[in-house]
Amino acid sequence: MERFFVKAIVTFKNEVKDNCASALNKMLKTLEIEDSASFSTGRFYTFFVSAADLSNASEKINYICKEILSNPVVEKYEILSIEALK
């Protein structure tokens, strides 16, 4: 079995209002730092999985992201990296 280190991020789908992002956009505008910051917020996760190879690891990671870390009705996830550990 190999060990893999995963970085993943869960954010709202584009059609769902992101309250925190809206507040940050307004704040940057008020502070006259940036007029169109277009923030997007989410939850960042790092975790380890054990699997026979990268393909099995990828399947397991997608299951974890889809079923446990996000709600596909309103959220989307992105696997930022999968790093095989030596």
């Binding site: 709202f12 209002k17 925190c20 309103v74």
Partner: protein
Amino acid sequence: MKAAIIVFLGTNCEVETKRALEFCGFEAEYVNFDANNLDNYDAVFLSGGFSYGDYVRSGRLAKFTPVISALRKYIDKKRGVTVGICNGFQILCEAHILKGALVENDCSRFVCKNVPLELSFNGEKRNISLPVAHKEGKYICFEDVNDYKFLKYIDNPNGSMYDVAGLYDNNKRVMGLMPHPERAVFTKNFGYDGKEIFKIIREEVKRG
């Protein structure tokens, strides 16, 4: 009429729900999150609170408990009526037992007040008032759920789509609502309109 009140780690409305149910003629008892059979009950209630600290998302982690697997079988068999109140509604949505999802209120604040609602049952509509207490109560669904809605906000406090305050599943055997009917039953509560909801639940159980 026997009712189960499911208690997860972090549930905190089970005592008032039990009192209200007993007051409205139910025989109620607590059922722990590790139970694996609900067939003895005519109705199953998932009460409010912060199950598993609302970690990851509100209601998300409760869906992996044994009692939710038992609840899926209970619903498949059409054994009785399932009711999710507040966090219970969030759990039912996270488990995809009910359509849609609940996200943070448009105002970003915890809303705790009595709200006017329109209750629809058996083709009749009437206005009632119930307390809400939530921060993640904005209902979102990208398909039309107007036919499943039984409770509608008159003055939408959270930005819910279709003004949904409560809705059924396809078979009308599962109900989810954000307002707290158990907090509007007794003299010292926010009015008495909670009884109307429990009356409907009794009717649904009798309908079989």
